[in-house]
Symmetry: D2
Subunit: 93 residues, 4 copies
Amino acid sequence: MNGYDANKDDLQKRLRRIEGQVRGIARMVDEDKYCIDILTQVSAATKALETVALSLLGDHLSHCVAEASAEGGAVADEKIREANAAIARLVRS
Amino acid sequence: MNGYDANKDDLQKRLRRIEGQVRGIARMVDEDKYCIDILTQVSAATKALETVALSLLGDHLSHCVAEASAEGGAVADEKIREANAAIARLVRS
Amino acid sequence: MNGYDANKDDLQKRLRRIEGQVRGIARMVDEDKYCIDILTQVSAATKALETVALSLLGDHLSHCVAEASAEGGAVADEKIREANAAIARLVRS
Amino acid sequence: MNGYDANKDDLQKRLRRIEGQVRGIARMVDEDKYCIDILTQVSAATKALETVALSLLGDHLSHCVAEASAEGGAVADEKIREANAAIARLVRS
């Protein structure tokens, strides 16, 4: 069981939409669309990916990390360390 | 003619790769992969989109904005204003 | 007791350094330094603030959130919800 | 002459405010304020620094880069290359 289990449909819908956005950006390049209009779509796709990441991370903290913390011990410490590293990657990306 | 004309193949290659990354993330969700591993891929796709944006923006400044500035006048001002707005969207996304 | 208790000296040192960086940026503006050199310092100060945020957040998850999760109940849910909101603000800033 | 010349007062005012924000964050740490409240202030200071960066960059493009482009040649190319590198640092910070 994963933290995102209850949100799987929503995540899939968002990811399919992002995949379509990226395909649309490739098409804009192909059709020589204006740079600034392409950039607007790239910013939108980036924001949509961030929303997916925040959703996954929120579910992970609410479930995996919360449950490991309730049990305590080395596994809990490792889950926290791992979540912190994922947050750092996200903030810096 | 667009600023990115000379980089079209490279852009298309990058965008196809990002499209594949996003499809891979959807598959990971489908196969109940571990949240943190999915997040790592989302961060990678986000960074790849940022690289595309920086490439498009660099080409835009080097060509469209530089040429408009060389001509001067209201068109040049408008190009600069437009580029600034695109940069702001990018920095804040 | 706060999660960052054991890191207080380190945090204070970092924050004093960032305060000095910001004062230095103001001085560069005052002395008409070159825009790009000022921008380099602004990027450095921004990154330093992000490091402070990631340190605070890591300590918060390791202590406050982990302890609340160990106790469970509504307080634990609220701590997680609050941490998720802080992470979202950070990722989007 | 720098691009930000006409905005010097505004920049100085913003930077003094950010310096005060950072000093306030150090005081919050000193007074053992709640982690999440400190994080909110760190996000606000980070956003304020980004606004300074976007203002400096906008002025730089409108003046230094536009003027160099109007003259053309190697200096113009170098200005564009330098601006692109500054934008990349900003987007990745």
